[in-house]
């Protein structure tokens, strides 16, 4: 049985629960059996650790809950086996936030080119280093820090 660490409300009055990382799969399986669906997930960089927030929704009881899980090592268990929507969502969070979802079959970048260096939504991402994207005749994208190579 999973343990709910804290159970409170956010500013809009939505229920917000916090779980431990090891309990996530078990808790989400339980929620899925109760008729909840995953609607979206997002990562938050809190500087010393990363938070991943899952939003789940029950269409019958009209219940919307956010589930917060913290991680120190940028690894999270993947929910793709439970909800199909997690597939692209986890790819997006991997792309922009750099969270590695263990158990995801096809964890590639969703928006940025594969060769891109770094994850832009991290607080320590260096915005001053411009990366230039170039496309060769095969249609493959190449990324470079050098302006001449990228043009």
């Amino acid at each position: 049985m999973y343990k709910i660490i804290s159970d409170d409300k956010d500013k809009g009055g939505m229920r917000m629960i916090t779980l431990d990382k090891t309990d996530l799969i078990e808790a989400m399986t339980d929620f899925k059996n109760k008729g909840y669906y995953l609607t979206c997930l997002n990562g938050v960089d809190m500087k010393d650790h990363l938070d991943v927030i899952y939003f789940i929704h029950n269409f019958d009881t009209n219940d919307y809950i956010s589930v917060k899980v913290s991680t120190n090592d940028e690894h999270m268990p993947s929910l793709t086996k439970l909800f199909r929507v997690a597939d692209w969502d986890e790819r997006e969070q991997y792309d922009l936030m750099g969270i590695v979802f263990d158990g995801h079959d096809d964890l590639r970048r969703l928006f940025l080119p594969d060769e891109w260096v770094g994850h832009p939504l991290r607080k320590d991402y260096d915005l001053k280093k411009v990366q230039y994207v170039n496309m060769d005749s095969e249609g493959n994208e190449h990324v470079s820090f050098d302006e001449k190579e990228g043009s």
């Binding site: 500013k11 809009g12 609607t39 269409f59 956010s66 997006e92 970048r109």
Partner: protein, 367 residues
């Protein structure tokens, strides 16, 4: 031994809505698989929002779903208003509701017109865009902007609706009602439109929920879920309107749901115009001189029903003038993620119709 061909559609192609790239794996003319490449319009509005003040971020949301800008602004502002505790006054809420519904009409008109265009029907496109231009003239009058309006502000709206503007909207609605039926008949009396849309792109309800599909695509699968009814925001609980659903599950069902929702939107605007109250149109806490000093602390999440479906914004503040994290849930991304599944076994021409029926707007998909 089957013979497979790879066909590349996009990034720039006349029949796709914005810039994304599809690679179709074909067995003769039957689609076996679709590979979607996104990110051509990716501007990372979420990061930009972290670098700017709460009040400045509205413009990034304008440019997400650029044909449905009012709804995008509303989604963001509802979160910020929850976070900062700046409640908009009653008149501002009514004005927002009128504008949001007008924008929904405008966005649906683009969707209808471009669906026709994808299928080779040029005529309805001109009619829908002519009507849309009238709506945008109202927006220009109110905000100064045609498409990227930047009309809502924290705690209210940028400027009041004058008597003249309310009269403009009142005059617009009756003739639009008639023109909508004309445009609808243009589609529905075309044999080709029926044949091209019926029975393709079937989304089963279970599959739709699993993939997080919302909006007209979900309602066309027979699930009556609409944020305006299930979690009423603004004053949607004070007006009467219906949620149309269809059990067709296909492209044609989605078209019918969209048109019926436009009729419901007209109903909502008419009721709003009757019920709109006098009073201030912004909260003094959000006035221009204080806008730069708005601080938020904590977390807020709010969702609105946009043109494509449930648009939700998560804002996290750490008691500074800039948000710590902003995340937008894009309904178009979920609708698009279903595309490889529903287009398996279709012809290439049907694929174009399915993309037109799902009507993704790339600005909001890529953000």
């Amino acid at each position: 031994m089957p013979h497979y061909t790879e066909l590349n559609i996009g990034p720039v192609h006349p029949s796709i809505h914005g810039i994304f790239n599809f690679k179709l794996i074909l067995n003769e003319e039957i689609i076996q698989d679709v590979k979607v490449t996104l990110g051509f319009l990716h501007r990372n509005a979420e990061k930009l929002s972290e670098l700017n003040l709460y009040a400045d971020n509205i413009i990034f949301f304008d440019r997400m779903n650029y044909i449905d800008a009012m709804n995008m602004e509303l989604g963001y502002l509802m979160s910020v208003e929850k976070l900062t505790g700046i409640e908009p006054p009653e008149r501002a809420q009514w004005i927002r509701m009128i504008m949001v519904e007008l924008n929904r009409l405008a966005a649906r008109l683009v969707g209808m017109g471009s669906l026709g265009l994808d299928l080779g029907m040029l005529t309805p496109f001109f009619h829908t865009f002519k009507e849309r231009e009238k709506i945008q003239r109202i927006f220009t009058e109110a905000s100064g902007g045609r498409q990227e309006v930047n009309y809502f502000s924290v705690g209210g709206v940028y400027q009041d609706l004058t008597e003249q503007m309310i009269n403009d909207i009142k005059n617009f609605l009756p003739q639009f009602k008639k023109n909508l039926e004309d445009m609808y008949n243009m589609f529905i009396h075309s044999e080709i439109f029926w044949q091209r849309n019926r029975g393709i792109g079937i989304i089963e309800p279970e599959m739709a929920l699993d993939y997080g599909v919302t909006g007209p695509a979900l309602r066309a699968s027979g699930i009556p879920y609409d944020v305006r009814k299930d979690a009423p925001y603004l004053f949607y609980d004070r007006v009467n309107f219906d949620i149309p659903i269809s059990h067709e599950k296909d492209n044609f069902g989605r078209f019918m749901v969209k048109v019926e929702e436009m009729r419901q939107s007209i109903r909502i605007i008419e009721q709003c115009l009757d019920k709109i109250t006098d009073g201030p149109f912004f909260n003094p806490q959000g006035k221009k001189s204080l806008m730069l000093r708005i601080k938020g602390n904590g977390e807020a999440f709010s969702r609105v029903e946009s043109d494509a479906g449930e648009f939700a914004v998560y804002v996290n503040g750490n008691n500074t003038t800039k948000p710590n994290r902003v995340h937008a849930r894009s309904p178009g991304l979920r609708n698009l993620s279903l595309l490889p599944v529903i287009s398996k076994g279709l012809m290439i021409a049907d694929f174009i119709a399915v993309v037109g029926g799902l009507d993704p707007v790339v600005g909001e998909v890529d953000r």
